[in-house]
């Protein structure tokens, strides 16, 4: 029954999205308040019906309704409840439904909370959103229907890929989609601005929170995915430059650029047409990220079911959204008012430079990801692009960008003097120098590059904290008050930039100083490795809810004291596949990672790694995400959309961040 309800709810949502497209766009054109109000209602109702459809799909999974084809393909009665629920977005169809759900909820949000927006602008945003809803709902219904029935229904389903049965993976896709789809709101605002032919302060103040609201979960989602790869795939890597990973990295990079240029637009009214272009491109890359891997144009570990019909449909959507909006851009953007002028050495100049680097980085990843397609088209050769390409192109662009990050918040708006800026960063520079010397002293001259990485991390960390210190020092006469009145946007900035520093330290530490060892072990045997002594206590077979596992238990002695952990190799009989559950001791100075392999008469293969500082990669990633959320909670952003305020926020009493 629930499948039919879901199907009908989806069809109703599709019809409503058509209403949401036509009514507000035409209403805004005619200045008809009733039609615009119809658009708002349609958006809210669409949110309700897609939610109903999604609830129906989850219901099917929870009750193990194997007469639903999708449930039968990805669920099994022995699969734990949490993974049965997570399986509802573990397939192509289910994840598309989740995508549409988030889109519809955001649309309802713009309709419900956009009361302070100019009415025609809100209507146009909703209209563009309606087009997206129409495109994706029809894609879902006509090419990837999640509610198909199976007759006769099988008694038992096929299990969800065991690699995906993991807490990290339960949250990973929803977070990514919150990010991808969140950028759709910025996209709709951009297209609406082009339709309106004007960009004003209210528009600028609205777009930044939406970008932040997309960027923060996307950051968390990517971090989570990287963490999952680390502990689940069983060989301790954390980033593989796989096409699907790149597909999430590209909108992130460009979204980061958008985040910064929107700041300039909001505060100074400059970079308007550039920001619009970024908003269009960021969402387009999100589309590429969500869909191109499903079209069969690229192969990947993550690739979903490949179907040329879907591919054509997706390209159609891309052509309709990106193509039309870029054409609109070419037509309308030249007429947009140019913003305030600024000197090269200024906050605006810094952000422009940041945008240049981030755009170049995005282009690098884009070329790496798609060059196999281009090259084959040109001369028929098959090539694969791997880590060496990215090491040679990505790092040389990323390092200067990260060196510049510290300067950004130290610059004054409009104009500044290079000499005084350098003066402001001297303390972080000195601290980074100290870090360099310490790293050389500890790691030796052979690891000069690694020492440079540590120094870069320290520079980012201290340079970000210096923003707060400088602010508080300037207001030291009223220290408590100046701490309490620090805008959350500044705190968010500091956390996010410091997070980047932690990430750099983590990447450097694990790249330069990791070590590994492989050997055969028997229970009772003890081994010394990287300052730890590892004893295998027992090796036995254990049973889980839907798997059998060989489990090795270890006790470890290191300088922080003894502890125990265990490593497993699981076999999932119904999926006929195996997974590795590594034993990982997480520590701030480094992780100890032990996984087990094949058994032989000589014992069991035990592979151990020491990954110094690696945990800072994820701490840094989550810190960046939290920084985004803190910034989002800033009062200025929450109430900032009030167009009725006669003036923009009053000038701040303290020298800005």
């Amino acid at each position: 029954m629930s499948a039919e309800v879901g199907q009908f709810a989806l069809i109703l949502a599709l019809l409503l999205s058509a209403v949401q497209t036509v009514a507000p766009l035409y209403g805004a054109h005619r200045g008809d308040g009733v039609l615009m109000a119809v658009g708002r209602q349609a958006a809210i109702l669409q949110g309700v019906f897609v939610s109903v459809a999604f609830a129906c799909l989850i219901h099917g999974y929870v009750t193990c309704d194997f007469s639903m084809a999708l449930v039968a393909q990805h669920s099994h009665t022995t699969q734990p409840l949490a993974y049965r629920i997570a399986a509802s977005w573990g397939s192509h169809e289910g994840s598309m439904l989740l995508w549409v759900l988030i889109l519809a909820i955001y649309g309802a949000g713009v309709a419900g909370f956009g009361g302070t927006l100019r009415e025609t602008l809100q209507a146009r945003v909703l209209g563009v959103q309606g087009v997206l809803g129409l495109a994706f709902l029809s894609f879902l219904i006509f090419t990837s229907n999640p509610f198909l029935r199976l007759s006769p229904a099988p008694v038992e389903g096929t299990e969800l890929n065991p690699l995906l049965q993991d807490p990290g993976l339960v949250l990973h896709p929803p977070l990514l989609y919150l990010g991808y789809v969140g950028f759709s709101v910025a996209f709709c605002f951009a297209v609406a601005a082009l339709l309106e032919g004007r960009v004003d302060a209210a528009w600028a103040r609205w777009i930044r929170p939406w970008v932040l609201a997309a960027w923060a979960p996307l950051t968390a989602g990517i971090t989570l995915g990287s963490g999952w790869a680390y502990y689940e795939l069983g060989w301790g890597g954390w980033w593989f430059w796989d096409p699907v990973e790149n597909a999430s990295l590209m909108p992130w990079l460009l979204g980061t650029a958008l985040l910064h240029s929107a700041l300039v637009l909001e505060r100074r009214g400059a970079l308007a047409s550039w920001t619009i272009l970024l908003a269009i491109l960021t969402f387009s890359l999100s589309l590429v990220g969500t869909f191109l891997v499903r079209s069969g144009i690229l192969t990947s570990v993550h690739a979903f079911a490949v179907d040329p019909q879907r591919g054509v449909y997706i390209l159609g959507i891309l052509a309709a959204t990106t193509g039309v909006s870029l054409a609109l851009y070419a037509w309308r953007a030249p007429a947009l008012r140019a913003g305030a002028l600024f000197q090269p050495v200024s906050r605006e100049g810094g952000v422009t430079l940041n945008n240049l680097f981030l755009t170049a980085l995005t282009a690098t990843v884009f070329l790496g990801t798609f060059s196999p397609v281009f090259i084959e088209m040109l001369n028929g050769d098959k090539i694969s692009v791997g880590p060496p390409y990215y090491n040679r192109t990505f790092a040389p662009l990323a390092v200067p960008l990260m060196m510049l990050v510290v300067f950004g918040p130290m610059l004054n708006w409009k104009r500044d003097e290079a000499k005084r800026v350098l003066q402001r960063v001297r303390i972080p520079a000195i601290l980074a120098g100290v870090a360099l010397i310490l790293a050389v002293a500890l790691g030796g001259l052979d690891h000069l590059l690694a020492a440079g990485g540590i120094a870069l991390g320290a520079w980012l960390l201290f340079g970000s904290l210096a923003v707060l210190v400088r602010r508080w020092w300037a207001g030291r006469a009223y220290l408590v008050r100046s701490i309490l009145t620090t805008p959350r946007a500044v705190v968010g900035l500091v956390i996010a930039h410091a997070g980047l520093g932690m990430l750099v330290i983590g990447v450097t530490g694990t790249t330069a100083w990791d070590s590994e060892k492989v050997l055969n072990m028997r229970p009772g045997q003890t081994i010394e490795f990287a300052g730890r002594s590892l004893t295998m206590i027992a090796l036995e077979t254990v049973r889980g809810p839907n798997y059998e596992a060989r489990q090795a238990r270890f006790s470890v002695e290191d300088r922080f004291g003894p502890y125990r952990f265990r490593s497993e190799r699981r076999f999932y009989p119904s999926a006929q596949s195996q997974t590795t559950e590594a034993a990982i001791r997480v520590g701030f100075t480094g992780n100890f990672y032990v996984s087990i392999g094949e058994e032989s008469p000589g014992g069991i293969v035990v592979r151990m790694w020491s990954h110094p500082l690696i945990v800072w990669i994820w701490i840094g990633g989550f810190a960046m995400s939290i920084g985004g959320l803190v910034s989002l909670s800033d009062r200025r952003l929450r109430v900032g959309a009030a167009v009725r305020a006669p003036l923009p926020a009053a000038p701040q009493p303290l020298p800005a961040e």
Partner: protein
């Protein structure tokens, strides 16, 4: 002039769209090998296992259909397909391996840790043999018939599904051939 600048994004996108559209026609997973129906060129890859003989062309005309799996320890999908090969080995399906673009030592460690399903396994640290065979990436698996001719080339991981639906029927047919 300024107008042209604003036209650039849509122009570039147009080109991309055409490329993507043409790209849809191809299936990145089923690459026809230039060697389909032919024997592979002469090659000899040194041993991965210390003290072993390695892998050469001659090993592929053993009179039985065999699989030749190109793998590497640094390759993610290889981990996905590895348990399948372990199972095939247990079932008696002959599989040879070529360890691509890494030191023999790394490949050997990997085999020790994950199990070694290969009869013969050769090392190809510089990817030279890979070029001879037309290998584009790892993992790739060639199906080779009794006469040593390549009959099929699978790009990507051999999942249980791929094995059951595609490779197993093919191997069974080849076994029945004279």
């Amino acid at each position: 002039m300024k107008r042209l600048l604003f036209l650039a994004p849509v122009a570039v996108f147009g080109v991309l769209l055409v490329v993507f559209f043409l790209g849809l026609g191809r299936d990145p997973r089923s690459l026809p090998s230039v060697f389909i129906g032919k024997t592979l060129p002469e090659f000899a890859a040194p041993a991965v296992r210390p003290g072993d003989v390695g892998l050469s062309r001659a090993d592929l005309n053993g009179g039985d259909p065999v699989l030749l799996n190109v793998f590497a320890s640094w390759c993610g999908p290889c981990r996905v397909e590895h348990p399948v090969f372990m199972r095939l080995r247990a079932e008696g399906v002959p599989i040879h391996g070529l360890d691509w673009k890494e030191d023999a030592e790394a490949g050997y460690r990997w085999l020790q840790e994950n199990g070694d399903p290969y009869i013969r396994v050769g090392s190809d640290p510089a990817g030279r043999v890979g070029i001879e065979l037309g290998v584009a990436g790892v993992p790739e698996t060639f199906v080779i018939d009794k006469q040593g001719r390549v009959r099929y080339r699978h790009v990507g991981a051999v999942t249980p599904d791929v094995w059951e639906r595609k490779l197993r029927p093919m191997m069974e047919d080849l076994r029945r051939e004279p």
